[in-house]
Symmetry: C2
Subunit: 289 residues, 2 copies
Amino acid sequence: MSDNFLIPRLAIIGVGLIGGSLALALKEAGAVGEVIGCGRGKPNLEKALELGVIDTYERDPQQAVKDADVVFLATPVKTLGSVTQRCLPGLKAGTIITDGGSVKGDVIKAIEPLLPEGVHFVPGHPIAGTENSGVEAAFSSLYHGKRCILTPTENTDTHALELISQMWTLVGSQVVQMNYEKHDKVLAAISHLPHMVAYSLVNAVGSYDHYEENILEYSAGGFRDFTRIASSDPTMWRDIAETNRDALLEMIEQFETSFIELKADIAEGNGEKLFEFFLRSKQLRDAIL
Amino acid sequence: MSDNFLIPRLAIIGVGLIGGSLALALKEAGAVGEVIGCGRGKPNLEKALELGVIDTYERDPQQAVKDADVVFLATPVKTLGSVTQRCLPGLKAGTIITDGGSVKGDVIKAIEPLLPEGVHFVPGHPIAGTENSGVEAAFSSLYHGKRCILTPTENTDTHALELISQMWTLVGSQVVQMNYEKHDKVLAAISHLPHMVAYSLVNAVGSYDHYEENILEYSAGGFRDFTRIASSDPTMWRDIAETNRDALLEMIEQFETSFIELKADIAEGNGEKLFEFFLRSKQLRDAIL
């Protein structure tokens, strides 16, 4: 029977929005046999069981991964190395480990050296998420139409890569492959830098104390979006800022160059250059629509 | 008959999204007798007539404002002084001029010195808008539930202020009064600075050319919002950057202080300070929800 499934036995380490949604989507696609959940919180695992996200759970990673064909690591990015370490004694040869971490270089450096012969690792990053977390937030269409970036290294097994690619395609993702350096720079540019900018903006405006009221109260339209971004989980963003430090600093400098140019145009009241600056941005944006 | 209307005769100079929506909303509220449109484009005025936004139009501002009780100036912020100048010969004593410009200090300096005895000016700024422009984009509920900031000066007539306040209340706005210096700083903080940051961000990321593809292609989620903001009308934003220069530069420095602090925390890999920085932002935001 189990031969009919793409993944007869799937272990999800960290059953929250990301891990839970993958389990639900694979079940819906008929691509998975049994799903074993593992995580620190028993109430969350009970909830996952109740919601049908997982079929059973184990508190110990080593037990959870036993006989698993695929292990999906969906714990915070800084924990992925130590979580892998705890899985090791239970892993059988042929098991494929993959992850959903938003930084890839650091994760690869933490995981690859740990793995015994025959255990494969496919580094991945589904670019999807909502503002909610926990297994109650999981839903099967989270990955529909979203990009999933896989970042194989020279050590990555071709068949393992193929299977994980199929897995993400089955849940509706558009799978893209690139090396981890590029992934980390692209994500620094389109996600990590914008978050840093939004956090700084909200801190700058919110701490402006020349008036009795908090001027953030007046925020409307576009600024609402900034404040929404700037209310993302501080722990997650601390981890990203730490683990993708170099790529992020490069993008910060790229941004500063651009911002300093604009500031000079404003200070000089140079209407022609201001217009060109704004037009360039509009054109860059319109080119991707 | 006309005594039943709050505004028996209303002239709209610039019949686009802002001016057109005000006319529609006042008509719907039964608060206006006749609406005369004026603007540079004849096709747009014909369209406004066809859509019932205005009842008649004049190409010449001097003709349009004849016998008007209220004149609403809704042309680009840098043109408001010269448009007022062109209206002058047609204005009767008792007419109230008001505007919708997003910068108030510059506009007050341009308009107040021009006005003859008996013609009143109430500087205003309805904080509403959409990405669309032109009279086809106008709709009567644009101002529902939105703030409208009025910035009276020592020269502002009390009765005129009262009437314009009533007008905005009638169309569903929440009217707030403050001095123009505060308006210009608040708007610099919550609108103009975020736009400058979004424009810089899109230019920085879009001009990153280490890869063959445009990495803006990967933008998703939060970054989509930034790129949307950064595709706003370059002419309008050039004018705002020019006319609200000082307040904007002050807010830019406020932002830079915050951003430089964050950059240092990232460079040092100072997890504790990073967490505090992100948490502070989250708390500032949660306080306004």
